[in-house]
């Protein structure tokens, strides 16, 4: 099987090359600009599209489509960034395919698994088109140890001028979010049981005492905007696997729980004893957060 890889970042490209090696016998990478040997280690061939001045990555979609049409790889792996989703989608429309996004598992036969219905189910599917397009994130594919040594030929291709270009008039870096929830060993999650933004301070105190970070459910980040979107745990946000997940006022809906059900231990406090969280917790306390949390923090110190 011939597999192509495309990614915004070199690190993702290298990882996809290494993963592709496990699935197919030939790995080819599409890169913008002269290829940096370091960056695309692991590809048997590199297709290099010359950098165009002032072009956005999106402006290379036509060139990518013309290459795919010409070379017909059986599988195209794309890193699942927002920009990647746009490029892959436009490319799919050009070649009459679909894109299987946010793939959790990918087999040699091209079968994919992804989460559907807000995490309530896992769907196995397979592309029915000549070229399958799958978006695969970090850590999904095992990386072959030989990947880092193989190096191949480079072919420069002609740039295909897009009919329509996006006009970028400004660009700003987002402020860095200092929490690193993905690597935190202990995570405190706050949900709807918190009455106001100020009360997140209690969760922070608990996190400090147990040596963890604070995340939240979607309504806290998106509805209330009490915490940055980067802290939101669940189906379209962070997927975590901490040693301990401490749920405060989290009801336990599947959309949130898929983001933490790989935790080793789940501890929950919620005043509703029928909240689904208690069926998914190792230890639970049915009580008013505001009554028990101060005492709990004091005693855990």
């Amino acid at each position: 099987m011939k597999i192509w890889v495309f990614a915004e970042k070199e690190s993702a490209l290298t990882e996809l090359c290494g993963g592709a090696r496990q699935l197919g016998d030939r790995v080819e990478a599409v890169v913008i600009g002269t290829q940096d040997q370091q960056g695309v280690n692991g590809a048997d061939k590199v297709w290099s599209i010359p950098t165009q001045e002032g072009a956005m990555l999106e402006d290379y979609t036509e060139t990518l489509a013309s290459l795919v049409n010409q070379e017909k790889p059986e599988l195209l792996l794309v890193a699942p960034t927002k920009r990647g989703k746009l490029i892959a989608g436009r490319l799919a429309a050009m070649i009459g395919a679909s894109v299987i996004t946010d793939v959790m598992e990918l087999t040699q036969g091209g079968e994919t698994k992804r989460m559907v219905y807000g995490g309530a189910a896992i769907r196995s599917e397979k592309a029915a088109t000549a070229t399958a397009i799958a978006m695969v994130g970090p850590g999904v594919l095992a990386v072959s140890p030989e990947a880092a040594t193989s190096q191949g030929e480079v072919e420069t291709v002609d740039f295909v001028e897009p009919k329509m270009k996006l006009k970028l008039i400004g660009k700003e870096q987002k402020p860095k979010v200092s929490v690193d929830l993905a690597s935190a060993k202990r995570v405190v999650g706050v949900g709807r049981g918190i009455a106001q933004a100020e009360d997140i301070a209690m969760a922070r105190q608990l996190a400090e005492v147990i040596g963890g970070e604070v995340g939240c459910s979607r309504p806290i980040a998106e509805g209330e905007k009490w915490m940055p979107k980067e802290c939101y745990i669940g189906v379209s946000g962070l997927m975590l696997a901490p040693e301990v997940y401490f749920a405060l006022g989290i009801s336990g809906q599947v959309q949130h729980m898929v983001g933490v059900n790989r935790s080793k231990v789940v501890i929950a406090i919620n005043k509703d004893k029928n909240a689904p969280i208690f069926k998914q917790a190792d230890y639970g306390l049915v009580a008013d957060l505001y009554k028990v949390l101060p005492a709990l923090i004091e005693q855990l110190k």
């Binding site: 989703k85 807000g118 896992i122 196995s124 599917e125 660009k171 987002k174 147990i210 980040a221 306390l285």
Partner: protein, 255 residues
């Protein structure tokens, strides 16, 4: 500005998982996909701030032609609604959905802006908006967290993983908005009553000259993930004793 806002009709969250891990939708009512409430609201706000018309559009099986659903959409701002309801259009993949929306939009006629949500609440592929734009052969962009109309052009703010871009779009264009672009309104009684009087058009696939496109994805299986076994040691109450017992249980895990 003529705006078409696309929405998907999806099963509500009460999906039942049967003993063998299959999903049952028998009891699940159909509703507007959560993420599309944001694109409907974005359209309504644009019309309120400037002027123009807002139309709702959905494609799917016959069950999407539901009076309560139609009223729900129309109470949120659109002044008319188009639905392509046909059992040939049930359970489509993103490519098929985009083709069906394209056929409907071409039947509707002139438009300046098509709005889509970030993804669908059921399958969340985040693909239909971008594929649709390409099929319509107009500029298309995703992850848009702000839209402003200036002199017949549209300026959008695009929130990516690490950066925020400002992009000028020439119209017509297809824009997919983020789920935090706005807080969708809750319709008032007056708006709900008025919605009943707004026009909606229901078409079949034939009416929009659409032959069902071939599947581009083959679905092999949809199963509930295995539940993780948890100890479920639950203590009730906020007494000192209850807190003490709770701490006794969790302190071992927090060492």
């Amino acid at each position: 500005m003529n705006i078409i806002t696309c929405f998907k009709v999806v099963p509500e969250e009460d999906i039942i998982i049967t003993s063998n891990g299959d999903l049952s939708f028998e009891r699940a009512k159909m509703t507007i996909s959560n993420y599309d409430l944001n694109s409907i609201e974005a359209g309504t706000q644009l019309i309120e701030a400037n002027s123009g018309t807002l139309m709702g559009l959905s494609v799917g099986g016959l069950k999407i032609d539901d009076s309560k659903l139609k009223k729900n959409v129309l109470s949120r701002g659109p002044e008319s609604l188009y639905i392509v309801a046909d059992d040939n259009l049930d359970n489509m993949d993103t490519h098929q959905t985009s083709l069906a929306l394209k056929a409907a939009i071409e039947k509707i006629g002139a438009y300046d802006l098509v709005l889509c949500g970030e993804g669908s609440a059921d399958l969340y592929a985040q693909q239909v908006g971008v594929q649709l734009g390409q099929l319509l052969n107009v500029p298309t962009i995703n992850s848009i967290s702000k839209i402003t109309e200036v002199d017949g052009k549209v300026i959008v703010e695009r929130t990516l993983e690490a950066e925020v871009e400002t992009i000028e779009l020439t119209l017509p264009a297809v824009v997919s908005v983020t789920s935090d672009i706005n807080l969708p309104r809750i319709a008032s009684m007056k708006q709900i009553l008025a919605a009943g009087k707004k026009p909606s058009t229901v078409w079949t696939a034939n009416d929009v000259n659409l032959a069902k496109p071939a599947n581009s994805i083959e679905v092999l299986e949809t199963k509930a993930p295995k539940q993780v076994d948890r100890k479920q040691e639950i203590i009730e109450g906020d007494s000192e004793e209850a807190i003490k017992q709770f701490i006794a249980k969790i302190s071992g895990e927090l060492k």
